[in-house]
């Protein structure tokens, strides 16, 4: 029984195969972790004013309605005045993240012009992503509270419009060119430096090519009604602009296109198209004109015309400069600052045109160009300034008034008539009227006496008898003169006598010539040679 062999105990320390299982599990887990980390996109933080509609681990991130990420967590920011959304962007969408990438919450919105985001009422709000263009990577973003009107990097041009008053233009309003939508108002604010209301415009490409330095913008919101003596003028844009407002721009008539503009160019926003037409030019010259007559009715903005053609307007009456004149020499004439715009004369709205007009005016003043104050309306008493040539004025040149050039002026219209009337009355006053009247009176007295004398003379019987004798004498004279007429007897007799005298004189002349040729012809016979015969071919 003792034959039972003793077990052989192998004391080798060998690792059990069973350990392969946990090792493989560990390797798989590690691979899965690495794989997950490798496939996971970047985590970015987007700050918002509120987390309304945003749910952690539920709210999706979309770009062009394609999911590209998800909100992982929401927390309050450090200052506790906003929220910070941690957003995981898919790995294959991480190239959408740029420095200027924009995030905003898409939720149902009801605006003045549209209703958007109705789809989110059922599916819930989501974050919309708009990739930017700047390549630098950034993981901290400030989310937009409202959707951007223009996607970042959109082709076009950004402009700034300035207005003295906040018009009925608001963010989102359209920008029109010839009634066609070419852009939008992206925002508005107040420029404290210039104390003007600023509007941010974006003009989409390719319409940005329509914008140049000479275009003008005006407010087309609502309806413009202008009632005047010429009738009622109603101007209105499209229904959208009437209800919601908008801005339009154009190149004014007669104005040449300006230089191209770049992003951020500044323009003035005119209140309406009428205001634009009144002042569509950028370049102008300023001159001063002095008048000694009353300026009642001459208001800033009154037209300055050249022979009826508007060439500018009155800027202001320079009462301040007048009072500040230390010499007091200008007190007699009131200076008026006027503006002349070369563009109104068909010239280009450029500095070169300004120089041309300045040179032309300098020469024209020497040739008689003068400014005058004219009556625009007798009813309203409005005045305007007319510039024209006058050939009966003394020579003059452009003067100076403060830093402005001074155009000489003449008095015309009612003022000139008034002056001429005054001069005439002065001359009348200077006439020796009283001595003249006395002399005239004495002359009338003499004439009365003379007439009385004539009357007495005519009533005298001898005078009446003399008249009858004169009548008889005149009758005799007429009869005598009748005898001297060509058909009268005396005339016939005289004509016959004159004819005989002429004949005698001729004979005497012939006798004289004969005696001159032959002195003895009185005694000795003279035989003249026979006259040559006509027709005998001498």
């Amino acid at each position: 029984m003792n034959d039972i062999a003793k077990p052989t105990i192998d004391k080798r320390n060998r690792l059990s195969v069973i350990w392969i299982i946990p090792l493989v599990s560990f390797a798989l887990g590690l691979w899965m972790i690495v794989e997950k980390k490798m496939s996971e996109g970047p985590l970015v933080h987007v700050s918002f004013e509120t987390a309304e509609g945003i749910v952690a681990a539920k709210t999706k991130i979309k770009y062009l309605n394609v999911e590209v990420g998800q909100v992982e967590a929401i927390s309050l920011n450090d200052s506790m005045d906003g929220v910070l959304a941690s957003v995981r962007i898919d790995h294959d969408a991480k190239h959408l993240l740029f420095k200027d990438t924009q995030f905003w919450v898409v939720r149902a919105r009801v605006g003045a012009g549209s209703v958007t985001g109705l789809g989110t009422l059922l599916g819930g709000a989501y974050l919309e992503l708009s990739p930017g263009q700047e390549k630098a990577m950034n993981f901290e973003y400030v989310g937009l509270e409202t959707p951007p009107l223009t996607p970042a990097g959109a082709a076009g041009i950004k402009l700034n419009l300035y207005s003295e008053q906040a018009a009925s233009v608001s963010t989102g309003d359209v920008v029109l060119y010839n009634g066609y939508k070419v852009g939008r108002v992206e925002g508005m604010g107040f420029d404290e430096a210039q104390r003007l209301v600023r509007y941010d415009l974006f003009i989409d490409a390719p319409f940005d090519q329509l914008v140049n330095g000479a275009v003008r913008f005006w407010n087309v919101s609502g309806i413009s009604v202008n009632a005047s003596l010429g009738g009622v003028d109603i101007k209105a844009g499209s229904l959208d602009t009437i209800l919601l407002g908008g801005v339009a721009f154009c190149l004014p008539d007669g104005v040449q296109a300006g230089a191209p503009v770049t992003d951020g160019a500044d323009f003035k926003l005119y209140d309406n198209y009428g205001a634009l037409q009144e002042q569509p030019y950028e370049y102008s010259l300023e001159y001063v004109v002095q008048f000694r007559q009353s300026l009642r009715g001459l208001l800033p903005g009154a037209p300055v015309e050249y022979r009826g053609i508007p060439i500018g307007s009155v800027r202001r009456i320079m009462t301040t400069e007048l009072l500040a004149d230390p010499e007091g020499q200008r007190a007699a004439a009131i200076p008026v600052l006027i503006k002349i715009e070369p563009g109104r004369l068909g010239l280009a709205d450029t500095q070169e045109s300004v120089d041309l007009i300045k040179h032309s005016l300098t020469e024209s003043v020497a040739q008689g160009l003068r400014a005058s104050l004219e009556t625009g309306s007798i009813i309203t008493g409005s005045l305007f300034i007319n510039i024209d040539y006058y050939y009966d004025v003394s020579s003059a040149e452009l003067g100076e008034f403060d830093q402005y050039s001074l155009i000489p002026s003449v008095e015309t219209g009612f003022a000139r008539i008034e002056q001429q009337l005054s001069d005439f009355l002065t001359k009348v006053n200077a006439l020796p009227i009283e001595p003249t009247i006395q002399h005239f009176d004495s002359m009338i007295t003499s004439m009365v006496q003379l007439m009385e004398s004539v009357d007495e003379l005519l009533n005298d019987r001898d005078t009446q008898k003399l008249s009858a004798e004169m009548t008889a004498t005149l009758k005799d004279v007429r009869e005598i003169l009748g005898g001297l007429s060509p058909d009268g007897q005396i005339f016939q007799s005289i004509e016959g006598s004159v004819s005989k005298i002429n004949q005698t004189l001729y004979n005497l002349d012939e006798l004289t010539r004969t005696l001159s040729d032959k002195p003895n012809a009185l005694i000795l016979p003279t035989n003249y040679p026979s006259d040559p015969l006509p027709g005998a071919n001498h």
Binding site: S499, D531, P532, L533, P534, G535, A536, N537, H538
Partner: protein, 185 residues
């Protein structure tokens, strides 16, 4: 002795003078041959003859003959019977009336339609080639207007002698009268 010699000399001169035969002189009357009848004129128009002037070289009795260019001879044996300025007026008056078929007024008629005829005879003579020459200018004038005309014609002489010259000049004057009458119509 001296007295008888003087008487003899004077007697001889007188005898010689008295025995000389004076040269014969022919005179020509410028008259129209148009028919003139006795009685009241049938018709008197508005035209009347104003002035009739003649050039100085023919305003004398002798007929004129142009022997060469610019050289004239005034005939001593051939005279006009009347001064030309008188006879020409009468001649033209009759001939114009005849051509116009109505008499010219003897005194200027009133009214703006009256036509005054003024004639100037610049040349009236015979030339060396056997022609009569007449150059004249004349005008028709009324209260409103005036027209001037010229006449320059020649006519060949029918024969030799001053009678033929007078005949040719008369023909030319008749042509002038017809020309005036034509414009007067």
């Amino acid at each position: 002795m001296r007295i008888p010699r003087l008487l003899i000399a004077v007697s001889s001169v007188l005898i010689s003078a008295c025995s000389t035969t004076p040269q014969a002189r022919s005179t020509y009357l410028l008259r129209s041959n148009s028919h003139v009848h006795t009685g009241e004129l049938a018709k008197v128009g508005d035209g009347y003859l104003g002035t009739v002037q003649v050039a100085s070289y023919i305003d004398q009795p002798g007929l004129v003959l142009e022997l060469a260019e610019g050289m004239i001879h005034t005939a001593k044996q051939h005279h006009w019977a009347e001064p030309l300025r008188v006879s020409l007026r009468e001649f033209l008056n009759v001939e114009i009336s005849a051509a116009n078929e109505e008499a010219l007024a003897t005194i200027p008629p009133g009214g703006a339609a009256a036509d005054r005829i003024d004639v100037r005879i610049s040349q009236l003579h015979g030339d060396a080639q056997g022609h009569a020459v007449l150059v004249a200018s004349w005008s028709l004038s009324s209260a409103k207007q005036r027209h001037d005309y010229q006449f320059a014609e020649t006519a060949p002489l029918d024969g030799v002698g001053y009678k033929a010259l007078v005949t040719a000049e008369t023909k030319l004057l008749i042509q002038l009268s017809k020309a005036i009458a034509h414009e007067l119509k």
